[in-house]
Amino acid sequence: MDIETTQTAEEILSERGAPVVMFDQVQLAFDEKVVLKNISFTLISGHTKIILGASGSGKSTILKIITGLLRADKGVIWVNGERVDELSEREMMNVRTDLGMIFQEGALFDSLTVRENVGYKLYEESDMPIEEAHRRVEEVLGWVGLGAYIDRMPSELSGGQRRRVAIARAMAFKPRILLYDEATTGLDPITATTVDEEIIKLRDLEHVSSIVVTHQLRDAFYVATHMAERDEKGNVRIVPATPEKEREAEFIMIREGVIVFEGDADALRTSTDPYIQTFLS
């Protein structure tokens, strides 16, 4: 049998439809408290996985396990073709080059300026020439609309601006997967929508696969039901998503460490599960 072309793992993973994150029967407990119980899901390249659940249900823990900040007790975890549950902290550093994480409250380094925060990885952990790193920092800050704040300290920014700087920091090194941990929690609806639009733009224009952890239903549905597109003049517009696009955003609902729902926005809305109905009401 002739095989005309051979794809590398990287090429396969960069294709749309390829699985970039896979959880298989993942379990985690802190002492007696079970945090995650048999969690299994797959994130497809270019898609969005929205993880919903009440506070303390284990949502953020999933993101920390993906980035290797926490270790699962059992189960198999694949990220970008690497089985991360078997990797050491040093080996995880390579996997993290393609992962960006936006932490709850931003987790900006408060002793560094916005420029230094956004360019942290480029300045400290890469061989990129300093001028090029400066240009990239200015570019991503312009992208999130905070170019004028480049020399400010994080303490001088509002909550929404801090989240947007955190997004800029996570996207500065062009990762293919972005993980959002309660990126809009505590923000007013207008600022939250601005952050949601950044998530949509990164997904649809930069083709970043994303996992959005939230308990803000309004933001979860906004991200799932909208898409970004460029008009003829190159301006970016956020418009209601097509049915196909809407199906690329999949919801997971977690209750006390267990997945109680998995499906798209329509299936979530029409679910008859009493817990889900209470959550949605």
């Binding site: 920390k64 980035t67 290797g68 900040l69 902290e89 040093r90 550093m93 993290r96 080059t97 992962l99 960006g100 994480m101 932490f103 709850q104 409250e105 987790a107 900006l108 380094f109 408060d110 942290y120 990885k121 400290e124 952990e125 920091r169």
Partner: protein, 257 residues
């Protein structure tokens, strides 16, 4: 009761294990790349230059008070002229290293625990790791190097200003001739004393910084946790300084004298 003791033993063993692992990783981080040069220079400034004022004041007034006290005692034996000998021996062998270390624990140990503790509770340590940085190399190694190398420098300065403080009291209060004081200072000093005064601060600087880093990185809870970590770092660091000083002194006496 048994469960309480069992839990206490378990948590103590865990703390010791985590401390040893952190120290091992930090020592390995000194000798292997990547190294964060700017952070190392910054910590030398913060720990070394930043502690200068407090060390100068402490050393000076300790020497001066020691001269006043020992002058009174030595008068009873007609030995006022040898006050310099007592001051130099006390400052260089014991008071200089220990008091400098205690001052560093209060100033530097608390600062390190508060800073690292705040970074833990605001997820900045997680953010560092997520951005591909090893927090031990970025945060602990620069502080460890600065504490280890600057503690002896600060101790030497403290010893010197302590002896100067004693000299001022000896000349103006005890009416001892300046020449008599300084010759008395050098007469009492043996090479072993100088070595003891130099070796101790290396060990104490290491203990202060590693204790503070360990406590800071193990902070739990919010701002209350940061406050607790700061207190624990100062209390543990101070007790460790006194205890380690005793054991180092014992070892050095057994090996050098």
């Amino acid at each position: 009761m048994l469960t309480f003791i069992e839990n206490w033993i378990k948590s103590s063993a865990l703390e010791v294990q985590e401390y040893v692992l952190m120290v091992r990783a930090a020592v390995a981080g000194i000798f292997t790349p990547p190294r964060y040069k700017y952070d190392i220079v910054e910590q030398f400034d913060v720990i070394g230059v930043g502690s200068l004022t407090v060390v100068l004041l402490t050393g000076f007034f300790t020497g001066a008070a020691l001269a006043l006290q020992s002058g009174l005692t030595l008068d009873q034996f007609g030995g006022r002229s040898v006050v310099g000998r007592l001051i130099s021996a006390s400052m260089i062998k014991e008071l200089g290293p220990v008091l400098t270390a205690l001052m560093l624990t209060g100033r530097v140990g608390s600062g390190i625990a508060a800073e690292l503790g705040s970074m833990v509770v605001t997820d900045q340590i997680y953010a560092l790791r997520a951005l591909g940085t090893d927090p031990i190399r970025k945060l602990v190694v620069p502080r460890l190097l600065a504490g280890f190398l600057m503690a002896p420098v600060l101790t030497i300065i403290s010893d010197f200003v302590g002896i100067v403080g004693g000299w001022i009291v000896a000349v103006f209060q005890l009416q001892i001739a300046s020449g008599v004081y300084w010759s008395s200072v050098t007469q009492a000093l043996y090479t072993q004393d100088v070595w003891m005064g130099l070796i101790k601060p290396f060990v104490l600087g290491f203990v202060i910084v590693t204790t503070a880093c360990h406590v800071g990185l193990r902070t739990k809870g919010g701002t209350q946790g940061v406050g607790e970590a700061t207190t624990v770092a100062v209390v543990t660091g101070s007790v460790a300084v006194i205890a380690v000083d005793f054991f180092v002194t014992k070892i050095l006496i057994a090996t050098m004298y």
